[in-house]
């Protein structure tokens, strides 16, 4: 039986309070109240008094690993991490963006998260479907037992079965709706480039106005940049104001990377990201 959200919130407050009180961290990243219960905001607690503002409920989907790279290296940070967030933290450690020693990871085993927009349960359809954090120092609640009902790549079958032209029409229809608000980039814990390639003027990789060519360039290159790094939290598609199913493409790329290189992103701090690594015995077959 999974620990209730209320219980996790209590545990989160206690543990965060302990850490801040002992001076082990200078801030704790967690969730705070938004304008209503359905829209919690990322929240930074810097002192014991701030801890009361924390909340945790089924709509706390935002990936807090996004905010780790904002602070100078060496800042001691406590972070509340759900399953996907913990994978993002591992991936950031692999990429040497943060150091393991600087982090205190408060793992949250989570079951029954909901999408604030549609009120649907968030499961392996749009995310990796894991329940328990992969890495943590303190676990706030009991581990969730059992396997996800779906395998994370099952949703791909429909798109994979399409013919080339049909699939292009599908993606064109989806990506043409993009209004280039860059919410996907802002929500993504792995998108930390400054400046992003699409903001560069020399060379200008793609049109910045929302039109077919620029949209295609932006999204395809973003999928490529996240290849072997995307930890499948699905936050990009939840952040998207026009509901483009970006998770489908990310899942496909993640699946191919897993098949070709034999490793999933963000599962172990000892690995290197797939695309900045190689094996001499990689087969040429992957290019066919």
């Amino acid at each position: 039986m999974a620990t209730s959200f209320k219980q996790i919130e209590e545990n989160l407050k206690t543990e965060a309070g302990k850490l801040l009180d002992a001076g082990k961290v200078s801030m704790v990243l967690a969730y705070g109240r938004g304008y209503d219960e359905k829209h919690p905001l990322p929240y930074v607690a810097r002192s014991l008094a701030d801890v009361d503002g924390m909340v945790f409920n089924e709509y706390c989907t935002a990936n807090l690993a996004r905010y780790l790279v904002r602070y100078p290296r060496g800042t001691k940070i406590g972070i509340a991490a759900k399953a996907a967030d913990s994978r993002a933290v591992i991936q950031l450690i692999q990429e040497d963006k943060v150091k393991r020693d600087d982090l205190v990871i408060l793992g949250i085993p989570v079951y029954g998260m909901k999408n604030a927009k549609t009120d649907e349960a968030i499961d392996a359809k749009t995310t990796c479907g894991l329940y328990n954090p992969v890495i943590y120092d303190v676990l706030l609640g009991e581990e969730v037992h059992g396997q996800p009902v779906l395998s994370p790549y099952e949703v791909l079958e429909k798109v994979e079965a399409m013919g080339q032209d049909e699939r292009f029409a599908f993606w064109k229809k989806e990506l043409d709706r993009c209004i280039r608000c860059y919410a996907c980039r802002k929500a993504c814990p792995m998108c930390y480039c400054d400046p992003c390639f699409i903001d560069q003027n020399k060379p200008k990789w793609g049109e910045k106005s929302p039109e077919t060519g620029g949209n295609l360039m932006y999204h395809l290159t973003r999928f490529h940049h996240l290849a072997g790094r995307c930890i499948d939290c699905g936050e990009c598609s939840r952040a998207c104001p026009v509901d483009i199913p970006l998770y489908l493409f990310h899942k496909k790329v993640a699946k191919e990377c897993e098949e070709m290189f034999g490793q999933a992103a963000g599962m172990s701090i000892d690995e290197k990201p797939a695309l900045i690594n190689f094996r001499v015995e990689d087969s040429d077959k992957i290019l066919e």
Binding site: V159, R167, L216, M217, L220, T221, H224, R279, D282
Partner: protein, 137 residues
Amino acid sequence: MSFEPKILGIACNWCTYTGADLAGTTRLQYPQNLRVVRVMCSSRINPSFIFKAFQLGADGVLVGGCHPGDCHYNTGNLYARRRLAVTKKILEFSGMEPGRFRVEWISASEGNKFAEVVREFTEEIRNLGPQTKFKIS
């Protein structure tokens, strides 16, 4: 008028470009549809080059590098192999015909292979017809 494909060739300085040079000096015939860009190593290739080429109207992209293990910089093409494999999968999943993008390992002494690959690839693109999916009109 019959369709003449425009093909972008991205060739590594040490192997494929020298191989192309050899094909030229030994006077081998190959189609003129290939426009070659020279880069210092196949791992120099940013995947956006390939997307951009398709957007600017290329009908096919051919990438040439050293054979794995022969790289002038020791490991460049081993990174490139992984990266370009992902590029290929992304192009495929976005709905582009998989035949339009190809990676070949051609060493400096393989002028014959270079001419053969270009001939074969041009023929393949000719059969596929003009690339309209990514092209910005």
